[in-house]
């Protein structure tokens, strides 16, 4: 989506809160015509005719909208995401100094414990570009406001004060960083001296406490005040001034959620200056002014102007440490300045103020629109009158809702200068009429709907605000992949034994409906598998020493979090461990095709040295385990999408911001599935080695059964890529695609680094497969990706209607392919004619330069689940 389209909201369900406010829109655009919608408040949206848009009469497809419809928009602009610099925010020495200061002594192992807790969460070092800064900035901002890190004997902790719902949001952010918290409520009595009288009142105080000393240390290291704020001098952390605008917005927003008064009008129409104040001991007046100056500088960097600080008249508080006084600053309330502030900075961790702020932005834009329209009418009326049109005619032709007859007459007779804003509607009334539910979003009038030409990408995703990465559940669940092993055998040696080999492997590797694995594993072993994949196999005699280094990422992806995997998923995974599965999954004995041995030199690097060498290919995944994780998180994401205001065209594309709790949980679970898939293929390959060894009466090592490579082709991975000339960390989703990293990439196994990674492309069981190599061009053009296989052209049902399994099996045998399948129906479904021509697919990728042909592999024996 283009940048001009920001600000629209298309929701599948009624939104309640926006959480971190990651408004994401996603559309699928075929090249061709799209609709361009313009609204009164100045929003533009380009979308396909069938894209649902939320309106006053419910969800309406864009093509069915009429000019009388009112569409829901988010009036606030937000801040575009820009990549922060990799600035180190504190040094190990700072951390040590902070621990000294907050009383974490160097005696015993207290310090080591705190450091360990930070290390466990990878928070012992922190750079400004860390994605978790989104949460940390808000938490830090709130601590400067309604939070404290008290200096008490039992050690520091962090307290937040506010409304219950807003504290819950803080709690969720803390949790996403790996810190727990508890909510408390108590009745309190307060006494304050005002200019008039001492004032006393009762209130219920809600607080949230995070007991972690590590969190307190982290926040103080980042610059949070420690101990009583009123009794010490401090300013804002200087690194804030090096942060990106969206980061400054989050920090300020959270501080203002706590400290800044809410947007409110003087008389129903004109807004007061929102105010915030700093209270300190009289002796620390300079520090109070210094802190306010920091805030003002930070605001000015976002084009927001503020008033000079002034003493809070009449406020004083006599506490145990002495008398404190207050200074305050206001956000200048002229319309452009206030609009900019509310729309781009606003409030965080305070849903009430956020809603009001959003509505106020809409109201200010509305008033601006009315003013513009009245000026236009005034000018027109004067011109018409000058050219001789009668007053009656002018009034008749120009009267409208915003410019009534008396205004027009006044314009003709005496009108000069700018029109006053016609006080058509008070803010409260506007909010009441325009607000969509309790969201702060407004119903906006459509000004125009045009059909325009668009030559765009097929999928394009825009995410507003700070969370620029999202993780899509539906496309990466199965974690299946390809594994290729070589042998030193020639086809002439293997040909007479293909049947024996296939039958033996068929017995050793279970396949089919509801099948169970032969390897029994305990819960704790399964935990290890989820975490360490093939590395676990190597440590438990289920892999050769070299195997892990020939698996993508050295045998396992980092970041697995077994605690995010459901009990159901675990059960399915344990039961099916070591099984092949069904559908298009297979195990195949293949022979190098001498006629299509494209690059013998490169092939040698991959262990292919002969023209008729025998290879074995395995295509399968994490079985029901990954699918169950997918089903579990589909539910979670369904709810999360509502909360984050995300809408997708197909529910299977359920997703969540990567930095959100849901996104992180899913990623931790998905990595478990990927590691289980690597392990599953490893266990199957061990069985294949066993079968070959038994048939040839030689050990598998002497048969040269080395792992060439194992690579996923349904996965989301965090990778670094060059975008517009600079290196960026991206979340790359590969679905129906596989990695194709070129020469020199550090993630390519050392053995292949000089030439690029092996790319394994599986075709149908009749037509064969290919081994290719990754290219530098793939790095430039496709984020290091290429197609993963041939893809079907015929449905399973249609394939079964066209060909009978038994007949296919006989015909394949005539062509020298011995196939053994669990069911004949399953075999028919996988017939070669149901797939695209693999050679054509590979040729296309080779010509596009995103992977390069090395050798074609012809099937001679096949096992189908």
């Amino acid at each position: 989506m283009t940048t001009e389209a920001q600000g629209f909201v298309s929701l599948n369900a009624r939104p309640t809160r926006l959480g971190t406010k990651a408004v994401m829109k996603q559309d699928r655009w075929e090249s061709g015509r799209v609709l361009r919608l313009a609204t009164k408040s100045g929003r533009l949206l380009m979308l396909t005719a069938d894209h649902p848009v939320l309106t006053k009469r419910g969800m309406v497809e864009a093509g069915q909208l009429s000019l009388s419809d009112k569409v829901v928009v988010d009036p606030s602009e937000g801040m575009p995401y820009t990549r922060p610099i990799d600035l180190e925010l504190f040094s190990p020495e700072t951390l040590a100094g902070v621990m000294e200061r907050v009383g974490v002594t160097s005696r015993g192992n207290a310090r080591a414990q705190v450091l360990n807790q930070l290390k466990e969460r990878s928070l012992d070092r922190l750079v400004l570009s860390d994605p978790r800064m989104a949460q940390l900035l808000k938490i830090l901002g709130f601590v400067f406001g309604d939070g404290t890190i008290p200096a008490v004997e039992r050690g520091p902790y962090v307290s937040f004060y506010g409304k219950k719902e807003d504290l819950a949001e803080i709690g969720r952010d803390l949790e996403s960083l790996g810190f727990g918290s508890h909510a408390f409520s108590r009745r309190r009595h307060a006494k304050v001296n005002t200019a008039y009288d001492p004032s006393e009142f009762d209130f219920e105080e809600h607080s949230l406490q995070a007991a972690s000393t590590a969190l307190a240390v982290l926040l103080v290291a980042l610059g949070a005040p420690y101990g009583k704020k009123a009794s010490q001098a401090y300013g804002l952390p200087q690194w804030l001034f090096a942060s990106e605008p969206w980061q400054r917005k989050l920090f300020l927003g959270a501080y203002f959620g706590a400290e800044l008064s809410k947007p409110r009008t003087v008389n129903g129409y004109d807004f007061q200056m929102p105010l915030f104040s700093v209270n300190k001991l009289e002796t620390l007046a300079d520090s109070a002014l210094g802190l306010l100056d920091d805030f003002r500088r930070l605001l000015r960097s976002l084009d927001v102007e503020t008033s000079e600080p002034s003493r809070v008249d009449g406020y004083s508080y006599d506490g145990v440490d002495g008398r404190s006084i207050g200074f305050r600053v206001g956000i200048l309330s002229n319309t452009p300045n206030l609009s900019r502030f509310l729309s781009r900075v606003g409030y965080q961790y305070n849903d009430g103020k956020r809603r009001l702020s959003s509505l106020a932005v809409g109201y200010l834009a509305h008033l601006q629109g009315v003013r513009g329209e009245r000026n236009r009418v005034r000018q027109l009326a004067v011109e018409m009158y000058a050219s001789g049109v009668g007053a009656g005619r002018i009034v008749e032709s120009l009267s409208s809702e915003v410019a009534g007859p008396s205004f027009i007459r006044h314009s003709i007779w005496g009108g000069r200068g700018t029109a006053r804003v016609w006080r058509d509607q008070r803010f409260e009334r506007y909010a009441e009429e325009r607000e969509h539910g309790q969201t702060g979003f407004i119903f906006d009038d459509i000004v125009s709907i045009e059909s325009v030409a668009y030559e765009g990408p097929v999928y394009d995703v825009t995410i507003g605000d700070e969370c620029h990465n999202f993780v899509a559940e539906g496309v990466v669940v199965s974690n299946c992949g390809m594994r290729l092993i070589s042998t030193s055998l020639r086809y002439s040696e293997v040909a007479p034994k293909v049947k024996d080999l296939v039958d033996r492997i068929f017995r050793l590797v279970p396949a089919g409906v509801g099948v169970k694995g032969t390897l029994r594993i305990t819960e704790s072993q399964f935990d290890e598998i989820m975490r360490y994949g093939v590395k676990w196999c190597a440590e438990n005699g289920l892999a050769w020493e070299d195997d892990p280094s020939h698996v993508e990422e050295g045998g396992y992806l980092k970041g697995a979090d077994p605690s995010k995997v459901s009990a159901q998923a675990r059960s399915r995974g344990k039961e099916q461990f070591g099984t092949l599965g069904s559908g298009n999954h297979y195990l195949e004995i293949q022979v190098v095709d001498p006629a299509r041995h494209f690059d013998p030199d490169l092939a040698k690097h991959f262990g292919v040295v002969h023209d008729d060498q025998v290879m074995v290919m395995v295509h399968c995944g994490s079985r029901g385990f990954g699918h169950q994780i997918g089903s579990d998180y589909l539910r979670v994401f369904d709810g999360a999408m509502r909360r984050y205001g995300i809408s997708v065209r197909d529910r299977e594309l359920a997703c969540a911001p990567f930095a959100s709790n849901e996104g992180r949980d899913y990623y931790g679970a998905m990595v478990c599935a990927a590691n289980m898939a690597f392990t599953n293929r490893q266990v199957i390959v061990q069985k294949v080695r066993e079968a070959f060894s038994a048939v040839f009466h030689r050990d598998a090592e002497s048969l040269g059964m080395n792992l060439v490579y194992d690579v996923c082709h349904n996965i989301a991975k965090v990778e670094k890529h060059t975008v517009d000339g600079s290196s960026r960390e991206l979340l790359v989703h590969r679905k129906g695609a596989t990695r194709s990293f070129g020469p020199g990439h550090p993630d390519v196994p050392a053995a292949y680094r000089s030439i690029g990674q092996p790319v394994i492309i599986g075709g149908s069981m009749e037509t064969g497969s290919y081994l290719l190599v990754g290219t530098a061009k793939a790095m430039q053009e496709t984020f290091g990706s290429t197609a993963h296989g041939s893809g079907r052209t015929m449905s399973r049902t249609a394939a079964k209607r066209t060909v009978r399994g038994a007949e296919l099996q006989r015909k394949m045998l005539e062509r020298g392919i011995y196939v053994k399948a669990v069911t004949m129906d399953g075999l028919a479904e996988e017939a070669g004619m149901a797939y695209k021509d693999i050679s054509e697919v590979v040729e296309t990728m080779d010509r596009a330069g995103i992977s390069k042909k090395v050798v074609a592999l012809r099937p001679v024996g096949n096992i189908k689940g």
Binding site: G474, S571, S582, H627, R796
Partner: protein, 139 residues
């Protein structure tokens, strides 16, 4: 048969459309359709009974959870069902009484191993006086 396969909807998966006069009936039809895709149900004997309870208010989620449960039971307990009786109590949730038997590779004519219910095109709707659902299964 109150369901029909949709061969052109999803090439790599199996899709079907189910139809019934009642919402509970719709769940039963979907359960049968899912099982028919995995096994020739005529050969499954109703020797074991299992009662499944699922919490929830939204009908489409309940259906998703119900079908997912049948897949989990197939993988974890190796059970396939012949008979399905589903009631949807007024207070929400679902109670299903299922009758079937453990997988017997010799006797059962097994078909596709269903891995998951997808959300692609997933939906339950009321059309006139009938209940309809579209389901795409990942094979």
């Amino acid at each position: 048969m109150p369901y029909k396969l949709l061969p052109d909807v999803a090439l790599a998966d199996v899709a079907f459309e189910a139809d019934s006069a009642t919402a509970g009936g719709l769940f039963e039809v979907c359960g049968r359709a899912l099982t028919d895709i995995m096994v020739d149900r005529r050969g499954v004997r109703p020797t074991k009974e299992r009662v499944v309870r699922i919490e929830g208010k939204e009908l489409d989620r309940l259906l998703y959870d119900f079908l997912t449960e049948l897949i989990v039971v197939k993988d974890v307990d190796s059970l396939l069902f012949k008979e399905f009786r589903v009631s949807l109590p007024a207070g929400g949730g679902l109670v299903a009484r299922l009758e079937g038997e453990p997988i017997d590779r010799k006797r059962h004519k097994l078909r596709n191993d269903v891995k998951a219910v997808t959300m692609h095109m997933f939906g339950v709707k009321r059309q006139g006086r009938r209940w309809k659902a579209t389901i795409v299964l990942d094979i």
